[in-house]
């Protein structure tokens, strides 16, 4: 058997570090947006007892990017949360390439199926 140029252990190590960096980056963006948010809204009353859904721009990726570009604090927090949601997706993407490098085609396809489900969730239903 030809030795694969890439092993499961290396793959896991790369993925673990990638996730940690992704989470810390997401937390930094959320915290920055959060400080900004508290400065602007600290003394407003709070009521979350009635669900009324989020405003439209905070519910989809183009809207969130637009809100961030406009330097709205809620948009920046939402961008950080998007980065957070992206970390496990990146992990699966990394597995697709990793298994590909290991020449493990069965698991390259398995990873691609998982990736397709994740993409469907994030992009599949404009509402």
């Amino acid at each position: 058997m030809i030795k694969a140029p890439f092993s499961d252990d290396q793959l896991e190590s790369v993925m673990g570090n990638l996730l940690r960096i992704g989470v810390l980056l997401a937390a930094a963006v959320v915290a920055a947006g959060g400080i900004f948010y508290l400065v602007q809204h600290h003394s407003e009353p709070v009521d979350y007892s009635h669900f009324q859904s989020e405003p439209a721009p905070l519910k989809n990726i183009p809207g969130i990017i637009h809100e961030t570009a406009a330097l709205h604090s809620t948009g920046i927090i939402q961008l950080g949360l998007l980065l957070l949601i992206a970390t496990p997706i990146l992990r699966v993407l990394c597995a697709v390439f990793g298994f590909g490098l290991e020449r493990d085609f069965l698991y390259t396809i398995v990873s691609l199926i998982v990736l397709a489900v994740l993409f469907y969730s994030l992009f599949g239903h404009a509402m």
């Binding site: 940690r20 859904s53 949601i85």
Partner: protein, 280 residues
Amino acid sequence: MHIHTLEFTTLLWFGALLAGFLGALTGLGGGVVIVPLLALGFKVDIRYAIGTSLVSVIATSSGSAAAYVKEGFSNIRIGMFLEIATTVGALLGAFLASRISTSTIAVIFGCVLLYSAALSRKSRPMHEADQAPNKLASILRMNGSYPGPNGEIPYHVSRVPLGFGLMVGAGTLSGLLGIGSGAVKVLAMDLAMKMPFKVSTTTSNFMIGVTAAASAGVYLSRGYIDPALAMPVMLGVLAGSLTGAKVLVRARVPALRIVFAIVIAALGIEMIYNGITGTL
């Protein structure tokens, strides 16, 4: 009672910090108490509570992944294969969440809390003895080994279809309730597939983040994820769970585990009660 954003955010952050810390320290996960904390403690609508909890579940899973990888126990093939089941289940759960009444969700949530509390009282089954090779598991190259005191310990995986089916259920609960469903995932791997518990625990953590990400997209597009709620909860749970994991390294905390299990059970009863009386 009227409280202002600054107090509210600070209280939420501390609550989430404590939940993350205790969850990591006891191994019961912090995500499972975030929804009752928000819904019962802070009178937040359960849909916002679920969206917020889901975000904190991803943070905990991804944040602790690096530590788990160092241990070298997780089986990424089993994890990836079962993620087909959990992500499809998670999508199903997220779609169900908008079609089931909030009081029904509260009752289901309460039952899951009671189950998690009950499970923590039982000792985990030990499958240190290797299983007979299973044909499907061999085709899927799921068998592996993990480091033991006297070198690598090989293991074989059994009942793959049953494990896969249970994982669809775990994913559905995760998507419906915004939790990691670690307890159900570990059950599927421990009991059905007879994996060694060290491997099932770390593989479960590997899967939780990906499963949660599958319903997060649906939740975001439905407006369940509120930035002002998610911000303190995500930061608090992340800080708490990372600290808890550091403290955990050598400590065994059976007494704390029992106390936390009782808290979870009590929250479960309160969720069921509030669900039935229709106040959630």
